[in-house]
């Protein structure tokens, strides 16, 4: 039997200095006994909503009841009944697993026999029992999240609030976490799971979709997905031409979304538009078009409006340095040791011109180390890294001049305006006079930055920060582009827009190497190398990897399935 745990009535919350309310007149109810997904782009107001429930923020107007109480005036009582796992790891990294658990048990008055059984249950539940004396800071990303969950569940709450628990967690841990939380709902617990992963939102019983502080949909995910029936299509057999297919589809009337999925292109049409057919691609290539069942993501994009620009204007005007024939980026037996620890072990691959190459793997697998060696930021212990025919270790400066690098974290100057940031990077790349002027105009125009030129970079919306970072990385028209987790912490809409630009670059002959956590994003890659325990454990096209794990039990594996299966198989091999 489910009951109402949280009742929002016309709740409004504004922050000083922002024109729009973070939460605007939200009225909804959260029930017990199921997972309520909280989805929406960055800055939609998801975290604010969770903090309001807990009384960590006070609503400006409206009525909010949590388990029948007022979360601000009865904060202590509400916090006794509601458990919360903040987006950032909120535990003490310099305390051990057990010390963290003990602290939270004391704070929540779980003592004596009750504590003993709670610890036993939670340690078994999270499989953390062997690590009780390890410092929390030394745990892997997935284990940290599990410990966070265990601390939140010390006293079984009536409502559990999870703020993006799976962000930055590899697919294996992500699945485990989901299974754990699902077990809890069987015990009558209410769960709110905020997420940037739409496949997670799709699995929830109920979903709240937020945008700009407003609730734009509430109900079952299928209720939203069903609106899209007959509007989703796969364009097959596009092969090499799939980026061209996507680009031309983006120009067709009625197309609201398009993404590359391995060898296929997925196209979503607007409501009432003529269904897609192979005829539409006559001029581009010989393709086959089939109708496919809609996904939650199709509905999400349709509801929020696709941000995919018709064509990225960047590629057209760019004149690129000619490259010698042969591989553009090459890793030959790249090895890096830190003391006795081997971070990268004989990693080899080569990337051809105009290819998108993806480095995938769980946290700490050695992706970043490999990446840094190829950029010349880290000297290999042995092996060789070559970019555009140059030995990175020997000709670091010349090699770097041929590549554009976009770091994982926002690494521009937040206190400088967009124009100042662009000017600075133009200077860094040694662009002067007319060349500099042309470069500045080109990126400003291509990324639509005119409107924000005088805005400080730190206050830009997430999508524009990303555009600016990419602008700075490609200012000197590099033939090779390195992207380190370029879309982590970015919502699906911004991610699409970003990939539209990347696709345009690639079509003009730029070579791209990318690391990513989002496996759906790995589908954009021509080839993938799966890095695990410092080694490449699998490599090939996304479809190759999927095929390699296809069994009768799993006839249509996703890339995530492939990832998990391959990692687990390697674990078994090591254990044996």
């Amino acid at each position: 039997m489910s009951e109402a745990l949280v009742q929002f009535d016309q709740i409004v919350k504004r922050f000083d200095g922002t024109p729009h309310p973070a939460v605007a007149e939200i009225t909804t109810t959260i029930m017990s006994g199921g997972i309520t997904g909280l989805a929406g782009p960055d800055g939609a107001g998801k975290t604010t909503l969770l903090r309001l429930i807990l009384g960590l923020l006070k609503a400006d107007s409206g009525a909010l009841r949590v388990c029948g109480r007022d979360p601000v005036s009865e904060a202590s009582a509400v916090r006794d009944l509601v458990a919360y796992m903040p987006q950032r790891f909120g535990l003490y990294e310099d305390l051990t697993v057990l010390e963290n658990l003990t602290l939270y048990a004391d704070l929540r008055a779980v003592i004596g026999e009750e504590r003993r059984t709670a610890f036993e249950r939670l340690l078994a539940f999270t499989s953390l029992a062997p690590f009780t004396s390890r410092l929390a800071g030394a745990l892997s990303g997935g284990m940290k999240q599990k410990l966070g969950l265990a601390c939140a569940l010390i006293r079984t709450p009536r409502l559990l609030l999870l703020d993006e628990p799976s962000a930055g967690v590899d697919p294996v841990s992500r699945r485990e976490l989901w299974r754990m939380v699902q077990t809890l709902t069987g015990e009558g617990l209410g769960v709110v799971w905020s997420t940037a992963y739409l496949d997670e939102a799709e699995r929830c019983e109920r979903v709240l979709l937020m945008n700009d502080g407003k609730l734009i949909y509430e109900g079952s995910p299928s209720g939203l997905t069903n609106r899209m029936v007959g509007r989703s299509f796969h364009v097959r057999n596009a092969g090499e031409g799939r980026r061209g297919v996507l680009a031309s589809a983006a120009k067709m009337p009625g197309v609201i979304d398009g993404v590359i999925q391995g060898a296929n292109v997925r196209i979503v049409m607007a409501a009432g538009a003529t269904p897609l057919s192979a005829e539409d691609f006559k001029g581009v290539s010989h393709v086959e078009v089939t109708s496919v069942p809609p996904r939650f993501e199709d509905a999400f994009v349709s509801l929020l409006g696709s941000a995919t620009p018709a064509v990225s204007r960047l590629a057209a005007g760019a004149v690129r340095a000619k490259l010698d024939a042969g591989p553009v980026v090459e890793a030959k037996e790249l090895t890096r040791r830190f003391g006795s620890f081997t971070a990268a072990d004989r990693i080899s691959f080569s990337i051809g011109r105009g290819e998108i190459f993806g480095l995938l793997g769980p946290n700490g697998a050695g992706k970043s180390t490999t990446f840094k060696m190829l950029c010349g930021l880290l000297r290999p212990t042995s092996g060789e890294a070559r970019v555009a025919g140059l030995d990175v270790a020997a000709q670091t400066s010349a090699a770097r001049n041929r590549l554009g690098y976009m770091a994982q974290k926002f690494s521009l100057y937040g206190d400088l305006s967009v124009a100042q940031n662009l000017a600075f990077f133009a200077g860094v790349y040694g662009l002067t006079g007319a060349r500099r002027q042309r470069a500045l105009e080109r990126v400003t125009e291509a990324f639509g930055l005119q409107r924000y030129l005088e805005t400080n970079a730190g206050t830009l919306p997430a999508g524009f920060k990303q555009r600016l970072a990419l602008s700075c990385a490609v200012m000197h028209e590099p033939p090779v582009l390195f992207l380190d987790e370029p879309t982590s912490g970015v919502d699906p809409l911004t991610r699409r827009e970003f990939w539209a630009h990347i696709n345009a670059f690639v079509q003009s002959g730029v070579t791209v190497m990318v690391t990513t956590h989002f496996l759906e994003e790995a589908e954009y890659c021509d080839r993938i190398a799966l890095v695990y325990r410092a080694r490449v454990i699998a490599a090939g096209t996304p479809d190759d990897l999927k095929d390699s794990v296809r069994t009768q039990a799993l006839p249509d594996p996703t890339l995530e399935d492939a990832f998990i299966t391959l990692v687990e198989a390697d674990d078994k091999k090591v254990a044996a």
């Binding site: 960590l56 202590s76 916090r79 458990a83 950032r88 909120g90 003990t102 939270y104 004391d106 008055a109």
Partner: protein, 380 residues
């Protein structure tokens, strides 16, 4: 779901849990040890050895217009003193550039009438020229020279078998610090400044760190109250601060040889009240500044600098303009500097200690109240 025990037992358990957590973090974090042990000792050595108001070997340029036996005797009396190093010349211009360049500290001119006036029993006049750009030193040099001159006059009179004929003679007796060794009062004073800095810095940084690392948000999501949070921070750092104080006192007594004439129980009482003030100020800073950089800078500006300048540690408060004198009453170190100097050099003088204790206690109450009002168990 409510606990079967009374709420006060829950609160006590929460506070103890927070204290235990904080203690573990202190023991595991080398930076806390640096702030609590190494920084204070370094500062104490700097203040104890580096700052001194005692003049040693004042370089003097002696201008003798007309050499006579009297000028010779005066020169000898200066030369024989360990305080002075004198060179003589006939013309003051020889020394003017030295004084400007700071190679000498003062010029003494014995004019041509020096011997004649001295012989008549008048006070043989001397002219003293000092560099006023460093008023502290100028005053010091002038006073020392005046003393030397007075001594010499007296000796001359005795040699001539005359009675001393000065209308008033000043006889000074120095109490409490007979050697007038300045580090005897500078060291206790610097302990006050150091403890202020350390106390405020410790709490300001650790609370800001909790905000920065996101642990505060997770903590606030539990039933902890404001009292729990404040007590959980104040108590462990109070203990740590007392240890720092014990170290500093030991160094003052055994390394610098500063006398201690009061009682240790009164010292502990004063320290406890002062430390509470310092820790509370740090807490207040960290509730307003939620990152470590801002917290550290605000601590330097709002705790260290006022303590240094307005506590009477270096600069005499009585000599300050009225607005600064009024502001100095809000500086807790003012009371502690005076209290410590009294305890070390004079003893348990309650007429000094009571007002100082009261002053610090009032400030502590104000800070803690402000912190409790400003700390919310909310994020906005």
């Amino acid at each position: 779901m409510s606990a079967p025990e009374p709420a006060s037992a829950d609160r006590l358990r929460r506070i103890i849990a927070l204290i235990r957590k904080e203690t573990r973090q202190i023991l595991r974090d080398p930076s806390t040890v640096i702030i609590a042990v190494i920084l204070p000792l370094t500062l104490l050595f700097l203040f104890g050895y580096g700052v001194s108001f005692d003049a040693r070997r004042i370089e003097i340029g002696l201008v003798i217009d007309d050499p006579t036996p009297e000028t010779g005797s005066f020169t000898a009396s200066l030369m024989n003193s360990s305080l002075f190093a004198a060179r003589s010349a006939r013309d003051r211009r020889n020394f003017e550039s030295d004084l400007v360049a700071g190679r000498i500290d003062g010029i003494v001119v014995l004019a041509s009438g020096f011997s004649a006036q001295g012989a008549r029993g008048d006070r043989a006049p001397i002219q003293v020229i000092v560099d006023g750009s460093d008023p502290n030193k100028a005053t010091l040099v002038r006073n020392y020279l005046q003393g030397a001159w007075g001594n010499w006059l007296m000796q001359e009179a005795i040699t001539r078998g005359e009675r001393i004929t000065f209308p008033i003679s000043v006889e000074s007796r120095v109490w409490f610090n007979p050697e007038i060794a300045s580090h005897h009062y500078l060291v206790p004073g610097s302990i006050a400044i150091i403890l202020m800095l350390i106390g405020a810095l410790l709490t300001a940084l650790v609370v800001a760190r909790e905000w920065e690392r996101g642990t505060m948000e997770a903590l606030l999501a539990t039933p902890v109250g404001i009292i729990d949070l404040l007590a959980g921070k104040l108590i462990p750092y109070f203990v740590l601060g007392m240890i720092t104080m014990a170290l500093a006192t030991g160094t003052a007594l055994f390394v610098f040889g500063v006398p201690f004439r009061g009682s240790f129980s009164v010292l502990a009482l004063m320290t406890a009240v002062f430390l509470t003030t310092a820790l509370a100020q740090g807490l207040l800073i960290s509730t307003l500044a939620r990152n470590q950089l801002v917290a550290a800078q605000s601590t330097l500006i709002s705790a260290f600098l006022p303590s240094f300048f307005l506590s009477g540690f270096v600069f005499e408060i009585a000599g300050m303009p009225l607005p600064l004198r009024i502001i100095s009453y809000a500086v807790p170190a003012r009371y502690f500097v005076s209290g410590l100097q009294t305890l070390f050099l004079a003893g348990d003088v309650w007429s000094v200690i009571w007002p100082n204790l009261t002053g610090m206690a009032v400030i502590a109450v104000v800070y803690i109240t402000l912190t409790a009002v400003k700390t919310k168990t909310r994020l906005d």
